[in-house]
């Protein structure tokens, strides 16, 4: 909106239609100047982008050195040191993924999440990711039922990220362990991937919010689960950018079924 001094300001407006009210017969408009707030939000996003990028550089050294140490202790057959370094590497990986999520969120907000679409076998991708996630837990059993009979056109790395996110969530929110089933199937031109766990589930009020930024599922026992609450937000953005759908069916206490769809046709 143009200000009387000639400059432009960002405003938020709320209109209340009272045309049917015989006493007022008008529309009430309420404007709020949000220029400073928008500028601060932009500054915050820029800071987040720079900070995440800068954090990745020392992470590169730390990750490199921990792998060198692991190699050294493996050669000298120092089993205790190997075990400790493997734990260190797990935490380095976790921190790296958190930084990547922050970078992804800033890319999404700036509309810069770029896709490199190729044709690939979704079943093979699911098998690979399931094997990776299985290695992170010994109280869960991941099983697959792969019936998708066509390849998909999508950004392979990004879809791998979505599948990894759904599987690691299934593990995280089944703290007592148990089965996790991953299925793929074809419905017309659409390929559907589903991840079913038998963990804590999500209550009705939270179900619509799990794909929001910084959404976190908690239990009444105030048990908290680690994470920034960005994974499903990023997953939704990735799937929607592919013109697919993502959703969840869940019953509190009985587990959740997350699913997403992708087109088998080139788009």
């Amino acid at each position: 909106m143009r200000h009387k001094n000639g400059g432009y300001r960002n405003v938020e407006a709320v209109f209340v239609n009272l045309l049917d009210n015989p006493r007022i017969h008008g529309i009430i408009a309420n404007y709020r100047d949000v220029t400073e707030r928008r500028a601060l939000e932009k500054q915050k996003d820029e800071f987040l982008a720079i900070a995440s990028h800068e954090l990745k550089t020392p992470m590169t050294s730390i990750k490199g050195y921990s792998q060198l140490l692991l190699e050294t202790f493996e050669q000298s057959e120092n089993q205790e040191a190997v075990m400790l370094i493997e734990k260190l590497e797990g935490q380095v990986e976790r921190l790296t993924n958190l930084i990547k999520d922050l970078l992804d969120v800033t890319s999404i907000k700036e509309g810069q999440l770029k896709l490199r679409k190729v044709k690939f076998d979704i079943n093979q991708l699911v098998v690979n990711v399931a094997e990776q996630i299985q290695r992170t837990t010994n109280i869960h059993v991941l099983t697959t039922s792969l019936k998708a009979d066509r390849e998909v056109w999508a950004d392979k790395d990004r879809i791998e990220q979505v599948v990894a996110n759904l599987l690691s969530n299934a593990v995280k929110y089944s703290p007592n362990g148990g089965k996790i089933n991953i299925t793929t199937k074809t419905e017309g031109d659409i390929v559907k991937v589903s991840v079913k766990d038998f963990g804590i589930g999500i209550d009705k009020q939270m179900k619509d919010k799990v794909f929001d930024r910084f959404a976190r599922v908690t239990e009444p026992s105030t048990r908290t689960f680690p994470g920034l609450g960005l994974g499903l937000y990023i997953a939704r953005e990735i799937i929607e950018r592919h013109h697919g759908t993502i959703g969840v069916n869940s019953n509190k206490g009985k587990g959740s079924l997350f699913f997403f769809t992708l087109s088998g046709k080139k788009q």
């Binding site: 990750k63 050195y65 060198l68 970078l103 810069q112």
Partner: protein
């Protein structure tokens, strides 16, 4: 005879760890923390260049384009590195032969290099 790898990287933390990784893998390593000498063609030509995108003073992409347009250096394989995954596309457009995202796995770095220099 050991293959020569030139690392162009301005972060000393990353530079040190890369040097150790590559020396352990049996390569002869030389390093540059700035890119100007490459633009002036004042450097010993290696068998492969590991080139960071974000250098102080000059952009790694410009260095890559420069090397790939000169007859004396266009045959040298260049692997670009960056903490920003979107740089992959820009690196390929600048005629880099490969791209590695930071943070990387040590085995991945060595494997990608060996793809070009046996």
């Amino acid at each position: 005879m050991k293959k020569k790898i030139l690392i162009v990287e301005d972060d000393t933390g990353v530079l040190d760890v890369l040097r150790i990784i590559l020396e352990r893998a049996g390569f002869q390593v030389s390093v540059l923390t700035r890119g100007e000498s490459i633009l002036q063609d004042d450097f010993e030509h290696p068998d492969l260049i590991l080139l960071d995108k974000q250098l102080s003073g000059v952009d790694g992409l410009d260095i890559c384009r420069h090397l790939k347009t000169r007859a004396a250096t266009k045959h040298i394989p260049i692997i670009m590195t960056s903490a920003t995954p979107d740089v992959a596309r820009l690196a390929i457009e600048a005629q880099a032969d490969d791209f590695i995202e930071k943070p990387f796995n040590n085995t991945e770095v060595v494997g990608r290099i060996r793809h070009f220099v046996k």
